[in-house]
Amino acid sequence: MNLDALYREVIMAHHQNPHGRAPLDEVNAHAHGYNASCGDEFDVNLKVEDGKIAGIQIDGHGCAISQAAGSMLSQVAVGLKVELLEEVIAAYREMLKSGEPDSNLPGDLPVLSGVSKFPVRIKCATLAMTTTLEAILNFKAPESK
């Protein structure tokens, strides 16, 4: 059954105990993401230092897939150069299109390749990523206050 490819144990573990929820001591970029079709929501806070992700908080609510994706992303982002994180996210989105697990992706992210069999769930699996990209954009060109 396709469900086994979607609700892998690793994914459920992230859903039940998500990482990356703790507030940061310092935040220099933020973005809010909302999936209008299902109500999933994320707030992403970034601490960027010397062009690297020094801290990330991905906090939100929604389905298991969106929450697991956010949790996985928070685990791999810290320490990455901003450009590299952008590349990781691009490769991740590519994987969801092709359905081929991309073993070059860091951490648990390759496990989410099964989402490709569920086209309506791809938005869930990418909301944390698109919100993070938006936070990066806000860092590069700070939100006009």
Binding site: M1, N2, L3, L6, Y7, E9, V10, M12, A13, H15, Q16, A36, S37, C38, G39, D40, E41, H61, G62, C63, A64, I65, S66, F118, V120, R121, C124
Partner: protein, 418 residues
Amino acid sequence: MNQALYMPERWDSDVIKRQFPTLSRQFAGKPLVYLDCAATSLRPESVINEGCNFCRLHDGNPHRGMHALSFEATEVYESSREAVAKWLDAPSASSVVITRNATSAINLVAGGLRGELVAGDNIVLSRMEHHANLIPWQQLAAQTGATLRFIELSDDGQLNVNDLPRLIDERTRVVAVTHVSNVLGTINPVRLIARAARRVGALSLVDSAQAVGHMPVSFRELEVDYLVFSAHKCYGPAGLGFLIGKMDSLERLSPVEYGGDMIEYVSFEEATWAEIPQRFEAGTANSQAVAAFPESIRFIESLGTDAIRAHEMHILSYALEKLQAIDGLKILGPTSPRLRGGLVAFTDQYVPPHDMSTILDEYGVAVRAGHHCAQPLHRHLGIPASTRASFGVYTTTEDIDALIDAIQQARQLFTRKY
């Protein structure tokens, strides 16, 4: 309601199911369990055939040409209008406006009233409106300086009608509420609300998208100025809706769409409008859908709206009882089937709605997850989304059993410790 008409032993679900070609499809190796009737009700074979027949034989442009096909098309078109008028107790065929769907019908009214409202006026809605009966009024309010007021909900999802005297005052110009909530299921006391509106000289609109085809509906008895619904939610084709209005209430609307068919005399500089209802029917309609709809009415009436309502209440009672027995699952809206239409939305402590619908789908059970075009209502209830199962003439208790089994599967997946 005439309970005597409904005899379960005479309600032959197999016969009814067989009339819906879509229900013969197999998913997950089993016949489809379709519990998304509130999104669209599917169409019986006879309705599909009638639309095809029109295309094959009578396919002229109604109201346009001077040839036999166009006459025929016009006749089909107008007899469909008459059938709707008769079916729902409209004052006359002319008081039935053919639209694209319920949404466009509400836009027609809200947009049409733009000249009637001024700053300081107010529009009264409820907290349970579908976006279709919210956003057109938001726009009207923004354009005219009117304010929006909302009838609040009681704890079990009914409208607080005790608040009506406070909410509806001499500056109220329109009161627009849903007949049956597409999330809470609540059946609202439409006539009482319409009377409260009329007492202060305000217009009233009822969004009957979830009522028509599910229970007896009479425009005259509801005493509203306007009633809207969509054909595709009552066993009719998509791309077709209706606005029924009292004649003098329709007269108060300015057209919102302009062009062919809706005019009388046109010069290069200006135009005068055609009579109602043509005034509100600019452009060529979805004539094949219009032609098919009388067949939907015939289908519904062959079962009887009282019997359909009784059947849906029977299914609803069964579903509510089974769902309530699941610990940690919370049903939205009133708990008594008497107070609700044939749908039930719920949240689950363990399985988020989107995951629930994906898992149910894998077991061949089609439900809807999300905010069901009622974001503000969900936020008001403090939940991001819900799962909704909705019922129609073809729904059986076996379908509900399949739903419950699939929910249990989802539960198992989500309550395990990983």
